[in-house]
């Protein structure tokens, strides 16, 4: 096996695999510590500011819920983007100088993906909240 293949492909994939498995293991440990599946009480879901569904008859979350969701989304996007760019730069200068506009492609390509997915996410969240509110309304009378 050529050393460039080891350095450029096997090593990063192995590190990524270990990071993912480590994160999953941490998640499972947290689950065990919490005493069962963490299926309830998820933070950040589109809903009220507290994350709980609002009272029946109200057609959607209060503005505070949307503001909180937007803040959470912005924080996640910015943090994830910066983290990936840091990893890409470390990979490029520390492991392998990939040919072509690698770093430019990382910055612009990932920004493009975020730009494309944000309106889809916003629309899906709005539709989900509407659907839940309608269901609550029907269940309430």
């Amino acid at each position: 096996m050529p050393s460039s293949l080891l350095r450029q492909d096997v090593l990063p994939v192995a590190v990524g695999y270990l990071l993912l498995m480590g994160a999953l293991a941490a998640g499972l440990r947290l689950l065990r510590r919490a005493g069962g599946p963490a299926g309830t009480g998820r933070d950040g879901a589109p809903g009220t500011a507290s994350g709980r569904p609002g009272p029946p008859g109200i057609p959607g979350p209060p503005a505070a819920g949307w503001a909180r969701l937007a803040r959470r989304y912005a924080g996640t996007v910015l943090g994830g983007y910066l983290l990936l760019m840091a990893v890409v730069i470390l990979y490029y200068y520390g492991v392998a100088r990939v040919s072509g506009p690698f770093i430019v492609s990382a910055f612009t390509g990932c920004a493009l993906l975020i730009g494309l997915s944000t309106p889809v996410f916003a629309l899906a969240s709005w539709l989900d909240v509407r659907r839940r509110a309608r269901r609550r309304h029907q269940a309430g009378g």
Partner: protein, 75 residues
């Protein structure tokens, strides 16, 4: 298919097979194994976990849709 070594496809098939096997085991409730959704939900409680998962999602999308899916079968 002929452009890439068969081993690449085999490795990806095994990885995805293991993933589906894990999820199937978890959903069958016979093993006490938490589902992947449960694990991801636990990770996403914390900002650093959300950043890491979003970075992973971006990395995957970047390679699939921007750089081309051939990257995943490079050998």
């Amino acid at each position: 298919m002929a452009e890439h070594p068969v081993i690449g496809y085999v490795v990806w098939a095994v990885l995805f097979g293991a993933l589906f096997a894990w999820e199937g085991l978890a959903l069958s409730h016979i093993s006490g194994v938490p589902t992947l959704s449960d694990a991801f939900r636990a990770i996403m409680r914390y900002p650093a976990g959300r950043w890491a998962l979003f970075a992973l999602w971006l990395w995957f999308g970047w390679h699939i849709f921007v750089r081309g899916w051939h990257f995943l079968l490079r050998a």
